[in-house]
């Protein structure tokens, strides 16, 4: 009985700690969000900092986003070719590639790239600043870390991710078409005929809305986890790992929760 009681108590304590942790993160994130909104509402965010972040997050991410989108488009096209050959008209492949890229692959693969390239770096950078007291130093100098560090990154994320997703969509569809032409000889005319057949303008709106959500959540979570870092180098490592897991799950949860809302 004692053993069972012990296990039960430990489980309860562990559950209580998890609830406490979730509540703490939720509280801090709400506080961070209010701080960011306030910073913009009062016009305290430096335009130059936002431009710097757009350059780093957006322009410098274009090559990796293009490569990822190319591979996504090629794989979708090849898989579709393999399954459709001899079964259904091949021009349908155009529709499959366009819809897959615009609705799923473009936004989600770009978001995963941004988690690794941008989110992890933000958390590691801010975590290091936190443990080496650089965040405290900013505050001691009368600078608000939310205004100076967090707000420009979140703003840049919101602005650049939709543009990157738009680029990924175009590149993914185009490389899918080229792959279809090279593997099963499907001409570009037939490919685009299929693509237009089941095309809805709303799909693009949906794709960019998703991108907007990812563009906010990725830097926002990264900033939060960076500010919450404790301990030395090990703490920075833990915070970065947790941030990557948290951001990836957030992207996948958002991806799963949006179709029932927007695609009905």
């Amino acid at each position: 009985m004692n053993g069972q009681g012990g296990v039960g108590t430990r489980a309860l304590v562990s559950w209580g700690r998890t609830v406490q942790n979730v509540a703490r993160h939720a509280g801090r994130m709400t506080h961070l969000l209010i701080g960011i909104v306030n910073a913009f509402a009062r016009g305290r965010v430096s335009f130059r900092s936002v431009i710097d972040q757009i350059w780093w997050m957006g322009v410098q991410s274009i090559p990796i986003v293009i490569v990822t989108a190319m591979l996504g488009g090629i794989v979708t096209s090849q898989q579709g070719s393999y399954q459709f050959t001899g079964a259904i008209p091949l021009y349908i492949l155009g529709s499959v590639v366009a819809s897959s890229v615009v609705l799923e692959l473009g936004p989600v693969m770009t978001a995963i790239v941004m988690v690794g390239r941008v989110g992890a770096r933000i958390t590691a950078e801010f975590g290091t600043m936190k443990v080496s007291e650089q965040i405290d130093a900013l505050q001691s100098l009368g600078r608000d870390p939310v205004v100076v560090l967090a707000a420009p990154r979140v703003a840049a994320g919101i602005l650049v991710v939709p543009v990157l997703v738009a680029i990924a969509n175009v590149v993914g569809i185009f490389t899918g078409m080229v792959a279809a032409n090279l593997t099963i000889g499907l001409g570009s005319g037939s490919f685009f005929y299929g693509a237009q057949l089941y095309w809805h303008k709303w799909d693009l709106v949906y794709s960019l809305t998703k991108a907007l959500a990812f563009g906010f959540w990725i830097p926002f979570i990264a900033v939060h986890m960076g500010f919450e870092t404790k301990g030395g180098a090990e703490g920075v490592g833990k915070a970065t790992t947790s941030a990557v897991v948290f951001m990836t799950l957030a992207v996948l949860f958002l991806d799963a929760s949006m179709p029932p809302i927007f695609l009905n």
């Binding site: 080496s132 405290d136 130093a137 001691s140 600078r143």
Partner: protein, 254 residues
């Protein structure tokens, strides 16, 4: 005048359990004590880098925590903080780091030439040659130089209060002595109120007007350096003793 009133702070365990301490305008107060007693936590409560669970800090009679929005920001502008590891911004060179010590709105309005002059003067005050260090990144500086740049950043905004968190930790005795003398000189030349948290009690006794000992979350002793040296308090004696065996014996007897 800086006044700590009944400061309490706990993290997982209580760290500060009712600290009362008064630092008069223009004086240098050294806070000494064993590791982990909350000296740095106390210093950080001065300008809200750590918010106390209970109690208040008053600066020239004005409450830091109960005076409404904007108070803390205004108080931070009156203080310069020197961090244990200097806490220089990695991505900025020395010039940019020191410039950050000037309040934002003044920095924006300041002509480049004037800014350069002020940064250079601050570096000269801390015995650094601006021509040699201005363009360097923190990673290109020695530990002692980083501390001096941190000090230059703290004084460039012409503060009334200087807060030093372990300014000589990790330095060799000669560098430590030169930083101590620099702190003494700054207190005289700039006429600032200085609060210094340190493990180096012997250095503190040379430069401080008063020394406070923090143990078990409260102030155990406050007095002038000569009173500190002559007290019979075994904890203070253990801390002052140059003989490690005697220090340990005194601590064990407590």
């Amino acid at each position: 005048m800086v006044e700590y009133r009944n400061i309490h702070k706990a993290f997982d365990l209580p760290v500060l359990t009712g600290v009362d301490l008064r630092v008069e305008t223009g004086e240098t107060m050294a806070v000494v004590g064993p590791s982990g007693t909350g000296k740095s936590v106390l210093l950080k409560t001065t300008i809200g880098l750590i918010v106390p669970d209970r109690g208040d800090v008053r600066i020239d009679g004005q409450s830091a925590y109960f005076s409404g929005p904007g108070t803390m920001e205004a108080l931070r502008r009156r203080a310069g903080y020197v961090f244990q590891g200097a806490a220089l911004f990695d991505s900025m060179n020395v010039f940019e780091n020191v410039s950050q010590g000037i309040p934002e709105e003044r920095l924006r309005a300041m002509p480049r030439g004037e800014l350069l002059g002020r940064v250079a003067r601050s570096l000269e005050v801390v015995n650094l040659d601006p021509a040699q260090v201005l363009g360097k990144l923190p990673s290109e500086l020695s530990g002692g130089m980083r501390k001096r740049v941190g000090l230059a950043r703290a004084i460039v905004g012409e503060p009334e209060i200087l807060l030093y968190d372990e300014p000589v930790t990790g330095l060799d005795p000669v560098n430590a002595a030169s930083i101590h003398l620099l702190i003494e000189r700054l207190a005289d030349e700039l006429d600032v109120t200085s609060i210094l948290v340190t493990h180096d009690v012997h250095g503190a006794l040379v430069i401080a007007d008063h020394v406070a000992m923090l143990t078990n979350g409260t102030i155990r002793f406050v007095g002038r350096p000569e009173e500190f040296k002559n007290t019979e308090d075994p904890m203070v004696q253990a801390y002052l003793s140059q003989d490690p065996r005697r220090s340990l014996a005194l601590m064990e007897a407590l």
